[in-house]
Symmetry: C2
Subunit: 751 residues, 2 copies
């Protein structure tokens, strides 16, 4: 009977979580049974040292004034944290860089026709929010790395402003050439919007926060609730990071005082057209005045208007001028030397700069990291020493383009590639469910960590709460996977926080993680991302801050002390098999859709369908999608799976026998494991994107933060570059074979 | 290659539509090749007589003043049309009934807490709309057959107010008992909302038009565009027609002057709680004041607020009092006697009463019918006579509950069941795509009609335009079907217009049809459904009025003159097979969902998932869904399919041989075909719904207008009455066997 069968699966899957303390009856990955016991007691001690009051106090202090890149309070925060780390026993340094950081001199958005309107571009002070009135120190609302400009043109609403939105425009005979586009936030990373607009000939770009994005559609707006109010603006970088992240003037090298800098005009990071974010209060008159086609249903937000596309009659001017100065940034780097393997580094980072007061982003994650560091300092004071070196980092300049972390990684690339075992990142954090993305060689490791951290509200393992989330909210495929897969799947890493230079540039195994989903987060990058907002709507008791400290702390402690580094490859192999299937299906689906659409064009189905009283343009015939030779990739993935299982089996046998490896073998093994992620990179990088060396994960050229797995193949297919796709299947297959060699070599150490 | 294959299918399917005049090289169903030629030339003559100017003039006249049930202008319209029919040579009568027709004396909706607000309940005059100022004659905004009442209570937002919305409320621990609910229009027929609310203990019900339903979300509002403006209200009947349609006081019998009437208190048609419709302008303050849970995402409309559920703090009073008078209604019945088979009737109807000026609803369909009748009168004047009797009907009192048509059918039931061949219905009509629902024994017949009517904008057959619509807008299954199925599928009939008493009460094969989809129809049942609105936003050139006249006219002419009545059974058989599969899948899906949900309840997945800072109630364990014995239904459906194909084959052979049947055989055959739909009924009706005798189609108890196919089984399953479902599988299987006997007997006449 199905019912019984389901129940049986449930017993099997969930039993470990129901018995108390069960996590301890299975050895930890990389530890023997005995070592596991010691590790658990260390972690219990660690947990006992954590104190939510510290998180609250530090958040209040760090977010008390605007602390953006280059600000006095930002520098002050760096110095303050540096003193804290020192006081906890860390060898601490502030590493300074000089980066290009534009700030606005002139910001004008005005409508000239059909009526006059001048946008406010201001976020008012609220009596319910103590720091909202610090106008003198607040960065104005703007998009960093917009080019200067003064443009006037008819307005066109382009939905999210991603490539497929322009297909809808084309279908309606609408061209943005010589015009200004207005896009709503969402659908892709904001930097994609001006990039795609410029590619289509637009001369300017406005981005606004529709209430459908993070406003009243979701809940009451600030200060009654936590969601975005009518005047609140999402600042943010629009740096084009297709080619590289970090300081625009120093690609591939650290932006030290005397670094060689390219000219600003030569940087691929600056937008081609001026772009500015506005509130929906400022956007409403512009949108309301648009005529022309009614926007397609999926384009419509929740403003009380009919969404028209234009072009015009709204005619708009944007004038923007920036100070293109270099600004100093301050990374805080705190080290605790490893007692046995000082040259194996476990790095744990969070950024400390905000757009304004940044209580959630980034201070909520930063204070959890500080508390981890404090507790580990305490453990060390009590006599315990980490076997490997622990490095805590508080990055500056993240908001503009991962400046602090990138410049640091570029400066120390060679050393990091020799010494870094893993990088553990966090950023914003709040009440709710755990989420993570990153290197799938750490998937099993992370699953063990999540089994051992308790959800503060439900007193069950956080992994169990994630499963409950997926079972209630997931689609049927996700539900099935939760029932059938041993580990929770770790999604591929995109971008949007400081793991990118580590993982995707330097090939260092990385995780980024946090909690959230039971908050009211509608103040992203506004002045209202404040302490007052945080303690009412995000994580009032800082209990999920403590949960993050427990999670990040366990990652650090286990990686630092494991006898054998806790890398494992069956998860990665399974994911790569999935991606391979996805790409095959994507190609098949594109082929079918192309054929169907071409047939419909030839049959004049569109001509017959279209409303003749409105302009519609029949799409053009597309090239046929060829069958690509996926065999090399499929074979490489299958072989990797086999080797990964072999390694898993050999490791299990070693553990079962309760044996330990001889020291030289352990050293050899750990050295292979530590460097394993590096063999997933190629120094040539991705096609046209040399800085991005990782072959399995990258941020998408047209999605931004969202991950593309097997990116060189996937993006070639999406962009219908069939020859390139064929080539990249070969390239990635070779990379996977190279990686598999490492897995096999690791396996031989276990014999 | 797939591409070629697809193209081949296309050639096969679409070729007939591309060659000109091809429709004529295949004989019409029921006609020999020679007869078909004569019929085509008759239809060409008919087409040539149609004049859009008449439609425009009649619409202007009929909609010039409010013409609701019981109104002076309504009576005047009936007399006017009666004179027209007479002038065209029809034997014309006005048949009068007396029906219960409540009109408002008192209408109050007010908010008492947290602040005072009194709803306007008024639709203002617009200078752009010439008839909008006729306040003296307009029916106020109200729901007919709401009970009187004066209730005060906390407000709860219930989304559409359908049963599954109450599951969401229960999940959040919200009870409507003793409270007033506010529901938005949509999701089900309006009468379902107060019915379900009362079943859950609510004491009052407000229904409002959210802009997400037919307002600014879709396009500019009236008078700039055609969509519903802030003050516009959808009137409408809330008669509970679970048990029967028509006059509440005379179930099963005609509401003649001296009919026996039940007491109003004994009628199952009147609502249990008071209910009133309001505009979104009136709803906004009430909704804005609600607190409590934020409504689930799918519940949120497009008002510029956060949708909360409540209960309260909004406290609301509804006071309603009605005049419960009897009103006279006037059906216009115009007959043209058949020359050969006067006792075989082809009935063609449309209602003439509106809620106010009703230009679209119902005049747009009414004027097309008038023009059909005029042109047929002209043909008759020219010497042609229909073989069968044609009956044109203009029904009164449709808006309150199909009063005119129902009372007429109930009065003449025995005669109709002997004489009626088919009933062809229309109602609102506008620019766009053809749509229909009804008896699938007429599916092939209708497909032939659609092949021969030209789309006025695209100059292709309207069936081809429908196919284009389905290929562009349809889901993959619909697209596949369009490619693979010979005929466009005719959907099952629900309710909402005058075909219901014919089809579902009397078992007369029926079609209801019209054009639409390229209009801006946001004025349903408001004072702005006017001539001025129609000629700007619905069908400015009345060209789709003419298309409807061509379509309805062809249906009438072919049914009237066919040698063999054009019924065909493969379409019905195919649909019944589909429904059988659907029911099996529905049961399997319910079983899986029940098991999954029960397992999740036992595993405490919901407890683990729920946000502990909000109230959530874990759902209760549900009974297991048994495996039902569908075999009798599957066997009956399979046998019917076989017999239907047999009939089709025999008919095709007869036609191929160019033979005609001997007269007695033709007569016998036609008599079987004419009565065939009757054998899909049972005089016992559906369980608990004796008036609804049709076993294949019914309006849903909890959907209203929307059709339920194989309703007795489907609703038993949906309501988890497993025993009843098993019984009804037997009952319907027997009905299908009885029907199949008729098909077989028809087939033997062709030998």
């Amino acid at each position: 009977m199905r019912c019984t069968a389901l129940f049986a699966i449930f017993i099997f899957l969930f039993f470990p979580f129901f018995a108390s303390g069960v996590s301890e009856d299975k050895p930890l990955l990389g530890f023997t049974q005995k070592q596991s016991g010691e590790q658990f007691s260390l972690e219990n001690k660690f947990d006992g040292l954590l104190n939510a009051g510290n998180l609250r106090d530090w958040m209040k202090r760090l977010s008390s004034r605007p602390h953006h890149t280059g600000s006095p309070h930002g520098k002050d925060n760096a110095l303050y944290m540096s003193e804290l780390f020192k006081s906890w026993g860390y060898e601490t340094q502030i590493e300074e860089f000089k980066v290009l950081f534009p700030t606005p001199k002139t910001r004008i958005v005005e409508m000239l026709e059909p009526e006059k309107f001048i946008a406010d571009l201001a976020e008012p002070e609220l009596k319910e929010d103590a720091t909202s009135g610090q106008q003198q120190e607040q960065l104005p609302t703007y998009n960093a790395y917009s080019i200067d400009g003064d443009v006037t043109g008819e307005l066109v609403y382009v939905n999210y402003g991603v490539p497929k939105d322009y297909e809808e425009l084309k279908l309606r005979g609408i061209d943005v050439k010589g015009r200004i586009v207005i896009a709503r936030y969402g659908g892709a990373w904001r930097g994609v919007k001006p990039k795609v607009a410029a590619e289509h000939g637009a001369i300017g770009c406005i981005i606004y926060s529709d209430p459908r994005g993070d406003g009243y559609f979701y809940g009451d707006v600030y200060p009654k609730g936590g969601f975005r109010s009518d005047s609140s603006v999402q600042r943010g970088s629009v740096m084009d990071f297709t080619e590289h992240d970090g300081d625009p003037l120093t690609p591939f090298t650290g932006a030290t005082e005397n670094a060689t800098r390219i000219k600003r005009e030569d940087s691929p990071n600056i937008t081609k057209i001026p772009v500015l974010p506005v509130s929906y209060k400022d956007a409403l008159p512009l949108l309301k005045a648009l005529g022309g086609h009614v926007a397609p249903e999926t384009w419509r937000g929740n403003l009380p208007i009919t969404y028209h596309i234009g072009p015009g009659p709204s005619k708009v001017r944007i004038k923007l001028e920036f100070n293109w100065d270099l600004a100093p940034i301050y990374n805080v780097i705190a080290k605790m030397k490893g007692s046995r393997h000082p040259d194996q580094w476990i790095i744990r980072g969070n950024h400390h700069d905000g757009w304004v007061n940044g209580a959630t982003d980034p201070v909520s994650g930063m204070v959890a990291l500080l508390e981890e560091a404090r507790a580990i300092g305490e453990l060390a004071r009590g006599g315990w020493k980490p076997k490997r070196t622990i490095v805590f980092a508080a990055w500056d300049g993240e908001e503009q383009g991962l400046l602090g972390s990138t410049e640091w990684v570029e400066t120390h690339r060679d050393e990091l590639q020799q010494k870094a075992v893993a990088y553990i990142n966090s950023d914003s954090n709040s009440r709710g469910f755990f989420y993570a993305e990153g290197s799938q060689t750490l998937e099993k490791f992370l699953n063990q960590v999540l089994r051992d951290v308790e959800d503060p509200q439900k007193k069950v393992p956080v992994s169990q709460r994630m499963r409950a989330y997926l079972l209630v909210e997931g689609d049927p495929a996700a539900r099935r996977e939760v029932r059938e897969r041993e580990d929770l799947r770790l999604p591929a890493a995109g971008s949007g926080s400081d793991f990118t230079p580590f993982l995707q540039h330097a090939g260092i195994a990385s995780l980024t993680m946090g909690y959230g989903g039971e908050d009211e987060y509608g103040q992203y990058h506004s002045i209202y991302d404040s302490f007052d907002h945080y303690v009412r709507f995000m994580d009032p008791k800082f209990e999920y801050g403590i949960a993050l400290a427990k999670t990040g702390g366990r990652c650090v402690l286990r990686l630092a002390d494991a006898e054998i580094l806790p890398f494992e490859f069956t998860g990665l192999a399974d994911n790569i098999n999935s991606y391979t299937k996805e790409l095959l299906e994507l190609t098949n689906q594109m082929r079918e859709e192309t054929e169907m659409k071409n047939t419909m064009i030839r049959e004049k189905i569109f001509d017959t369908y279209f409303d003749p009283t409105r302009t519609f343009v029949v799409p053009e015939i597309q090239d046929t999608v060829p069958h690509l030779n996926f065999a090399p990739l499929q074979n490489a993935a299958a072989r990797l799976e086999k080797s990964a299982k072999e390694y898993q089996k050999e490791y299990a046998e070693l553990m079962k026998n309760g044996k330990t490896l001889p020291v030289p073998k352990t050293q050899k093994l750990n050295s292979i494991l530590m460097l394993s992620e590096r063999s997933l990179t190629r120094k040539e990088g991705l096609p046209g994107r040399r800085w991005f060396t990782h072959q399995i994960y990258a941020p998408g050229v047209y999605t931004g933060y969202a991950a593309k797995s097997l990116p060189a193949i996937r993006e070639a297919i999406e962009q219908r570059k069939w020859q390139l796709a064929e080539e990249q299947i070969q390239v990635i297959s070779q990379t996977l074979e190279k990686f598999r060699d490492q897995v096999e070599e690791a396996g031989t150490q276990l014999d």
